[in-house]
Amino acid sequence: MSEQKISEHRLTQLKALEAESIHIMREVVAEFRNPVMLYSVGKDSSVMLHLARKAFYPAPLPFSLLHVDTGYKFKEMYEFRDNYCKEVGADLIVKRNEDAIAKGVNPKEHGVARCCGALKTKGLLDALEEGEYDAAFGGARRDEERSRAKERVFSLRDEFGQWDPKDQRPELWSLYNGKIHDGESVRVFPISNWTEMDVWLYIREENIPIVPLYFAKERLMVERKNFLIPYYEETKDQLLEGEEPKMIMSRFRTLGCGPCTGAVHSDATNMDEIVIEAAAARRSERETRIIDHGSNSMEDKKKEGYF
C-alpha cells in the first residue's frame, strides 16, 4: 500500500492527523521556555507520547512527562507507566496533592466534585506552578465532550490556570500565537482533531503499547447501576450494601481513578476486536467516567483549571 500511496502524494486521514500533531508539538518547543507533557497513562496519552517521539526523532524528548497522580489509579496503570517511561527513555515527574491525600480525601465521603477538585485540578495547578511550566501538552480530544469541542489547540490560561471559553484567542490556519504575559500559560492539545476511533486505529496501526486494562479479560467486578466497577481486595470497604464481586468478561474504554471509572462488558481481547467494538459503540466513552455526570460539569471544571 505505502508504495502506491506515496506516488499519489495523498495522505490518508490518519497520516494527515499525525502530521498536524507533530507540527503543533514542534511549534510549542520552538516558542515556549519550559513546556511539559501531561501524561495520564491512558490511551490518548500513549498516542500523544508516541507522536512526540516521532516529532523529535532522533533526539530524545525535549520535555518531561508530568503525571498528576491521585493515588487512586489502577495498579496496572502504575506498573505500565513506570515500565513504559523507562523503555522509551522519557523523564517522568510524578506529582500528587500530598495534603489532600494525607487528609484522606475520597469520592465516597467528600463527593466526586470535591475529590477531583483537590486531587486533580489543584494537584495539576500546583504542579504546573511549581515546575514553572509555560506550556502543558494535554491529550484531550474535541470529540470527547461538547465543551471540549469548543477549545482551541493553544488554549490560553490566566495566572490562576483558568480558561475563559467566552473570550478565546482567534486561531487561524496553522499559525499558533504563542505570545503570553508573565504568569500566563497555555494548554496545548495536539490531538484535538482525533476521534476515539482514530486513536484506536492508530494504536493498532503503530503497535503502540497501552495499559492491559483496555483489553477484555475475566475480571472481578461489581455491577453498580450501569457501571462495572473493578473490585480489589485493598478497596473492599468501598463496596455498597448488597454488592457482590463476580468475574465478568470486561475492559475499559477510558482510564481514570479506580473509584470513579467503570468498565464495560466486552469480549474484545485484541486491537482488531477493539476497533470493531469502537465502531459499533452506541454510547460515548465518557459515560464510564463519573466526573462527567451532572449538568455542565466538564465546562465548569475546565474553567477552574481542570485538565
Binding site: I6, H9, R10, L11, T12, Q13, K15, A16, A19, I22, H23, R26, V29, A30, K54, A55, F56, Y57, P58, A59, P60, R142, D143, E145, R146, S147, R148, A149, K150, R152, P165, K166, Q168, R169, P170, E171, L172, W173, S174, L175, N177, K179, I180, H181, N193, T195, L201, R204, E205, D272, V275, I276, A279, A280, A281, R282, R283, S284, N296, E299
Partner: protein, 427 residues
Amino acid sequence: MTELNIKMTKEIELLRLVTVGSVDDGKSTLIGRLLVDTKGAFEDQLLAVRKKKGTTHIASAAEIDLAMLTDGLSAEREQGITIDVAYRYFATPKRKFIMADCPGHEQYTRNMVTGASTAHAAIILIDARNGVLAQTKRHTHILGLLNIPHLIVAVNKMDLVDNDQNVFNQIRSDMKEYCAKQGINDLICLPMSALDGDMVAVRGDKMDWYKGETLLETLETLSALGGIDSKPFRMPVQLVNRPQTAELPDYRGFMGTIASGTVKVGDEVVSVPSGNTSTVKEIVTFDGNLEEAFAPQSVTLTLNDEIDVSRGDMLTHVGDKASDSKVLTANVCWIGDEPLTNRSKYVIKHTSNSVKAMVASIDFKTDIHTLDHLEDADELAMNEIGQITLKLMKPLHYDSYVDNRTTGSFIMIDTFTNNTVGAGMII
C-alpha cells in the same frame, strides 16, 4: 465492521468543512442533523439534549434539540446562539469530516474566521424566509478572501416557505450575483430543511422539483483536495534538531512541515534568507528514512553541507524561490477590539517567522454590500475587511495567498495585549 472496513477507515481522506451564515439560519441545527443522521453522535450525548425530561431512548431526531448538540457552552445554551466555533467529527464510508460550526452573530465574526481558515469546503446557510442578509454577505466575502475551494449555498428552513421552488430560485440568483462580483462563479446551491432533515442526508418527499444531490452526497463527492504537492517546494523550518548525544554528536536536522511541493534525496535546495545552497542528504522520520516527501508531511531534512539554517528560514528548490520583500500588501480581516490604524505597529507571524511590522497605508476598506473599495478609510474597525500595506523590519519570503495558503497567510499580533488581531492574506 470487518477487516476490510478497518483498512478503509484508515485510508479515507480528511475533508475540513465549515458552516457559516447569519445568526439563527440553522448552522448548529444542520450539524446536529448531520451527526444524528451519520451516527456521529452517541446515544448518551443525544439523551443529554432531549427535549422532554425522562426520555430514555431517542427514536427520532424530533425528540432532541439538534442545535444544543453542538452549542457546548452553557452561555450558548442559555442564549440560544453560538458564541465560539465547535469542532465536530463524522465519517461516512467515503470520507472523514472535520466540521467547524461557526457563530453567525456579527460580534463573533473573529470566531467564524478561525473556523473557516482551514476549511476545504464551506456551507453557507440562508434562512429561506429572510434571504441574503448583511452577515451572509460578510461571511461569503470572507470565504472568498480565504479562497475556500468549494462553496455550497444551502437555502434552509424550506419547510417554513411551503418548500416553494420560487423562493429557492430567487435566493440562488441573489447569491450568484453577489458571488460573481468577487469572481466566485462556482457555487453549488441546494434547498433543505435542517430541522426535518430533508435534502441533508435523505431527499425527503417535499422538494421533488429539486433534482440535484443531497448535501451529504455533495460533500462525499466534492472533487479531491490534492494539488499542493505539485506546487513549488516550500518548507519553513520550525526547529533545528541537534540531539548532541553520544551516538549523534554532530547531527543537524531541519524540522518542518512541508507547506507545498515535493522534495527528494539529492535535490538541490536553498535556504532563504541566507541564500546558502546544499543538497538533501536524508529525509528522516521515526519510521525510517524516506526517498521522497510531500506536503503536508512533517519531516526532518539533513543536508550535505554545513550551512547556516535556523527557525524562521525556509528551504526551497534552487530556481524556484519564493518572493521576498520588506513591503507586503495584503487583504486583512480585522478581528481586534481596537481598530487598526495607520502607522500602528504589530508583530506579524508568518509560517515559523515573527517580525515587527508597521501599517504603511490602509489602501481601502471594502463595503461588504456592494464590494466597493472605500479609499479614504483611516481605520479598520473590528470585523471590517480591507487591503493594507505593511512595512517590515526584515524581509519575509512568501507566496501570494491564492497560490499558497501556508506561505501566503499571516496573523497580526498586538504587541501590548498579545492578542491575535488580524488575519492577513498576501496579494
